[in-house]
């Protein structure tokens, strides 16, 4: 795929906009891609890395992906310039069943670099805003600089039909920070969104997910109305290479999207 756009979101975090080179590949993508699915992005000579498709299913002319530069592959991706070619395999995995969310209130809870998968669902819903009830987004990062999609956060903050709660971890605030300070689960409990007729989509580092699930339980959310996406290390994406499984579940095939009820059946210490 060809890189047609790049944007630095936060220190070491970059979004790339990719366009298909072959119309046939693009057609397959258009037919199969639904929000929540992931892909394997690669640079020949360096390898492949797994991350979500960060663009929504309502915008399929291109793929956006957001990644933190940390290893061999992501460094090579970060070094790639506009016009360069990278590889993409996918879309793989299951999806957020957003048509089942029609008529319901939506709560998105996300932390740090985990906003990209959430953002795909957020825009998939906001692009057909009339089909959903109240939309609440709780998003936090370690510091103000670490918040990703800053331009979109501003857009959501200005929209009257989106309730955005932003927070940074204690110590991560800047002098002009006007939003919350505190960890995501705590801020979520303070915001206290109603569980009535509400679907929660949570995504973040394992430790955030763990405590957010506890907070949601306190707020009265039913486990079957809470969705999350598990991002395990993957190589093949096809249910063969054997590393992404949690218990008997292959995250690449049966996931990455699971309800909290499904996650609760998995061996917690292997998550």
């Amino acid at each position: 795929m060809k890189i047609v756009g790049r944007h630095d979101e936060a220190p070491g975090v970059r979004t790339m906009k990719l366009e298909f080179q072959h119309p046939a590949d693009h057609e397959i993508f258009k037919e199969t891609y639904r929000t929540g699915m992931f892909g394997l992005y690669g640079v020949y000579g360096e390898g492949e890395s797994t991350f979500c498709v960060a663009s929504p299913e309502t915008r399929k002319d291109y793929i956006e992906c957001t990644f933190r530069q940390s290893g061999r592959v992501t460094s090579a991706l970060a070094n790639a310039d506009i016009g360069d070619l990278i590889t993409f395999r996918g879309p793989y995995g299951n999806r957020f069943p957003i048509e089942e969310f029609h008529g319901k209130n939506l709560l998105f809870v996300s932390g740090g670099i985990a906003l990209p998968p959430t953002r795909s669902v957020i825009w998939s819903c906001l692009d057909q805003r009339e089909k959903f009830g109240k939309v609440t987004i709780v998003y936090g990062a370690r510091s103000v600089a670490d918040l990703v999609y800053k331009h979109e956060l501003e857009e959501w903050q200005e929209r009257s039909d989106v309730d955005l709660v932003l927070t940074v971890d204690p110590g991560g605030e800047s002098p002009d920070w006007k939003n919350r300070v505190g960890f995501v689960p705590t801020v979520l409990e303070e915001a206290a969104p109603s569980p009535d007729n509400c679907i929660a989509v949570i995504c973040g580092p394992p430790i955030m997910i763990k405590f957010t699930l506890i907070s949601l339980k306190k707020l009265g959310f039913d486990e079957s109305n809470v969705y999350t996406t598990l991002e395990n290390r993957m190589k093949c994406g096809l249910g063969k290479c054997g590393r992404c499984n949690v218990g008997s579940v292959y995250v690449c095939k049966e996931g990455p999207v699971f309800t909290a009820a499904e996650v609760s059946l998995m061996p917690a210490s292997d998550l």
Binding site: Y44, E48, G71, L85, C236, K240, N245, S269
Partner: protein, 337 residues
């Protein structure tokens, strides 16, 4: 009267198969390791061992194999898919545990996406298995509800005659019958009795073990820590296992040309599941050993209705610290009493 292949005629068979275009593969000694490799003459074959060190898995799923070659040009990237070298093969002298190991992995490589590398080789290979008349302390096929003369995964089963004179021939599949048509005139009818099969003592109660493993309460049992204390995470067990199938994908090359390879990997390695963030879902050796046992006897059968173990015992036989599936399941058998 049964069809007999006499040992002294084996070289004629090898010749016949070779002229028919088959690559003949069998148990041989190579650099002090007993393994399966292509042969020219029957004299190279070594049937003296209970089981070669390496399994026939290597012939279907090599330790490392190229998947594609890439060349990066100014405006484009050229890629060539590397499919495995094609051509019919016959493995003469597989063991029942190894042959069934291949059949065990078929559903894994075939579910959803069909792995061409695996199935091309599977479809081009005739497996001629020799029933076991010898076993050692590590053999455990009977504990896995198999036997020294199991036919699963084999195209032909040979039952040794007494005194190494030859083998009774049981044709099991069309692929096997086809290959043995080439040597039909070499086979003789005889009433020579087969030598007694190896006696493989039952080492654990598989059903009891599976019940214990399926109980979610036992996932956090301190048993896992105790049993895996010795494990050094060397992955010998997974590499030698005929059914372990985990792999890694790595690129190898310079800036402009190179190869993307599929390499064996192992759930014993810490890096196997390590996230970029440093978070590791299976962060301890005990979690990794638990994964291996659970995968073989709980998760895999849950998905594919067959245990991911054929009872060859290589994991215990070759383990540098004397632990393996046998020892683990024996302990679980005791726990579940």
């Amino acid at each position: 009267m049964t069809k007999i292949l006499f040992s002294d005629k084996l070289d004629n068979c090898v010749e016949r198969w070779k002229s028919a275009g088959l690559t003949v593969i069998g148990p041989v000694q190579r650099s002090n390791i007993s393994t399966y490799a292509a042969i020219e003459h029957a004299a190279e074959l070594d049937f003296s061992l209970v089981l070669p060190d390496r399994s026939i898995k290597d012939l279907f799923f090599p330790q490392s194999e190229p998947m594609l070659r890439y060349t990066i040009k100014k405006e484009s990237i050229d890629t060539d898919e590397c499919l495995p070298p094609s051509g019919p093969r016959i493995i003469f002298g597989a063991r029942p545990c190894d042959a069934s190991g291949m059949a065990i992995d078929d559903p894994l490589f075939g579910w959803d996406y069909k792995d061409e590398y695996w199935f091309q080789r599977r479809n081009e290979t005739v497996i001629v298995t020799i029933a076991c008349t010898k076993a050692d302390d590590f053999c455990m096929c009977t504990s896995l509800k198999m036997a020294p003369d199991s036919t699963k995964g084999s195209d032909i089963l040979l039952r040794p005659l007494a005194g190494n004179k030859g083998w009774q021939v049981e044709e099991l599949t069309d692929r096997g019958r086809e290959a043995f048509k080439t040597i039909a005139d070499i086979l003789q009818e005889s009433s020579d009795p087969a030598a007694p099969l190896a006696v493989v003592e039952k080492k654990f109660d598989l059903d009891a073990c599976v019940t214990w493993l399926q109980n979610p309460e036992n996932f956090e049992s301190r048993f896992w820590k105790e049993i895996s204390m010795r494990c050094i995470g060397c992955a010998s067990c997974t590499y030698l296992c005929p059914t372990c199938h985990c792999f890694d994908i790595q690129d190898e090359g310079d800036t402009y040309t190179g190869i993307r390879r599929k390499n064996w990997d192992s759930c014993s390695f810490a890096l196997f599941t390590m996230h970029t963030s440093g978070h590791n879902p299976r962060s301890t050796q005990s979690a990794r050993w638990r994964q291996r046992i659970m995968h073989k006897f709980n998760y895999f059968p849950g998905k594919f209705s067959v245990n991911s173990c054929s009872g060859c015992g290589r994991c215990s036989r070759q383990c540098p610290v004397d632990m393996g599936i046998t020892e683990t399941l024996q302990e679980i058998s005791k726990l579940s009493l």
